[in-house]
């Protein structure tokens, strides 16, 4: 201070102004997400058709979809039959006649059933196995009412054979989501299982779909999640087995990851909390923001009359500060890693010394 004062006396045009700051480096959040496997299974039911020779007029079977709608399919042999009178047939939502003729094989009968049904029963995919059997696969997860078989008046089983090949199980992950924040974005990652998911459309947040297969293992779920998270510009992620480690690319305090209302059942842990870079000491006649990792922009509350000079000293290991931009209104400090020079977060002390006089100091 004595030096400055004496210098002012010697050079009246020198109007020094000093600002000084201590800045703590921010930290970027690191979080782990431990995934679980999907439980979803599509139910598969199988109907074995008889050859015409083994069938009786108006034999029928009933299949259902996940919503409980039913289709009753009956055989009309040589166009001489009449519709069944059984209660299951009468109550069916869809009643489908299949015209077969004497001499048809089981394979031909099955083919005619598939042709007659078409896409009548919603949310069910029908597959002709070309061997006399037909598979009815539910397009939705969960248990479906077992198929049934009858003769015309429900007094017997008729000639069809029905069985549940694979029991349906609800998906724990389809449409579920969890919340994840970065300093710039508020995300929800939601799971679209077997392409039948629906975006939960959380208001005010950015949705990212994670596509997985039904019954995906936890490691497959983690792999897909890792791909989705790493695709975001402000998240870097890695995966190891069933655990995704997500790192925000920018410093800043954020909410910890958490399950959404439709919960995933994942486990979330924050291994490094996000911290916003901040001034912690000095003469705060400026505001500071962090534009990118390791880049700190100071804007003086009052501009200098001429461009000031700046001294900066790192408070962090393996960092060296650099003046990447400066004018009368502010200065940008870039902290560089000593290994390679890449911009990297770091704390530092900063002194800004300039003059509020336009004239040259003599």
């Amino acid at each position: 201070m004595a030096s400055l004062m004496s210098f002012v006396t010697a050079s009246p045009q020198y109007r020094p102004r000093v600002l000084y700051f201590g800045l703590d480096a921010g930290a970027n959040q690191t979080a782990t997400v431990t995934t679980v496997a999907d439980t979803g299974v599509f139910e598969v039911q199988r109907v074995t058709a008889p050859a015409t020779a083994g069938a009786t007029q108006a034999d029928y079977f009933v299949v259902s979809n996940f919503a409980g709608e039913t289709a009753a399919v009956w055989l009309d042999i040589d166009a001489a039959g009449t519709a069944p009178t059984g209660a299951a047939y009468v109550a069916a939502d869809y009643q489908i006649e299949v015209n077969i003729v004497t001499g048809d094989t089981a394979t031909q009968v099955a083919g005619k059933i598939v042709a007659a049904m078409g896409a009548t029963l919603p949310d069910v995919t029908i597959l002709d196995n070309a061997d006399g059997t037909i598979d009815f696969t539910s397009d939705l997860f969960g248990n479906v009412t077992a198929p049934a078989r009858h003769n015309a008046n429900d007094s017997g089983n008729g000639s069809f054979v029905v069985a549940t090949q694979t029991g349906g199980v609800a998906s724990n992950l389809n449409n579920s989501y969890f919340l994840y924040d970065t300093p710039d974005n508020s995300y929800y990652f939601w799971f679209n299982v077997a392409s039948i998911g629906v975006d939960p459309a959380i208001s005010g947040k950015t949705g990212v779909a994670v596509a997985i297969a039904a019954s995906a293992a936890d490691t497959a779920v983690a792999s897909a999640l890792n791909t989705a998270m790493d695709a975001q510009t402000d998240i870097t992620s890695t995966v190891l087995a069933a655990v995704v480690t997500a790192v925000n690319t920018e410093d800043g305090a954020v909410s910890v990851p958490a399950d959404g209302t439709a919960a995933t059942g994942f486990a979330f842990a924050v291994t490094q909390s996000g911290v916003s870079a901040g001034l912690n000491n000095g003469k705060f006649d400026a505001t500071v923001t962090q534009s990118d990792p390791g880049v700190y922009v100071f804007v003086f509350d009052k501009e200098y009359a001429r461009v000031p000079e700046v001294g900066a000293l790192s408070k962090s290991d393996n960092r060296v500060p650099r003046i990447s931009a400066i004018d009368r209104f502010g200065v940008t400090i870039e902290m560089q890693d000593l290994s390679g020079g890449a911009a990297a977060d770091g704390g530092f002390s900063l002194i800004v010394l300039g003059s509020d006089a336009q004239d040259a100091i003599l």
């Binding site: 000079e309 003046i323 400066i326």
Partner: protein, 95 residues
């Protein structure tokens, strides 16, 4: 006092107190600032690079001049632009 040293290309001095000292380019990454009016005691100095991947180092310092050395991150002398802030006292007595 504070100045900016343009050490890349033809070395030149600018900034707030550029008229109060003289710059000498001693070679690659080696600069001396000689004050018009020497301090009574050896001043303290902070130098901060403007050029990418540079570390500034204080060389010989005296009441009338200071030497600033600039190196790249591998420690090799490298020309660079940098700011210098010099703080000292014109009293011989300890503060």
């Amino acid at each position: 006092m504070s100045v900016k040293v343009d050490g890349t290309g033809t070395a030149a001095l600018s900034g707030t107190c550029a008229l109060n000292m003289v710059l000498t380019d001693n070679g690659t990454g080696d600069y001396t600032l000689t004050f018009n009016v020497p301090y009574v005691r050896v001043p303290e100095v902070i130098a901060t690079p403007v050029t990418d991947n540079i570390v500034c180092k204080l060389g010989t310092s005296a009441a009338g001049s200071i030497q600033i050395l600039t190196e790249n991150l591998s420690g090799a002398a490298t020309d660079a632009d940098f700011h210098v802030i010099i703080l000292g006292s014109d009293t011989a007595d300890q503060i």
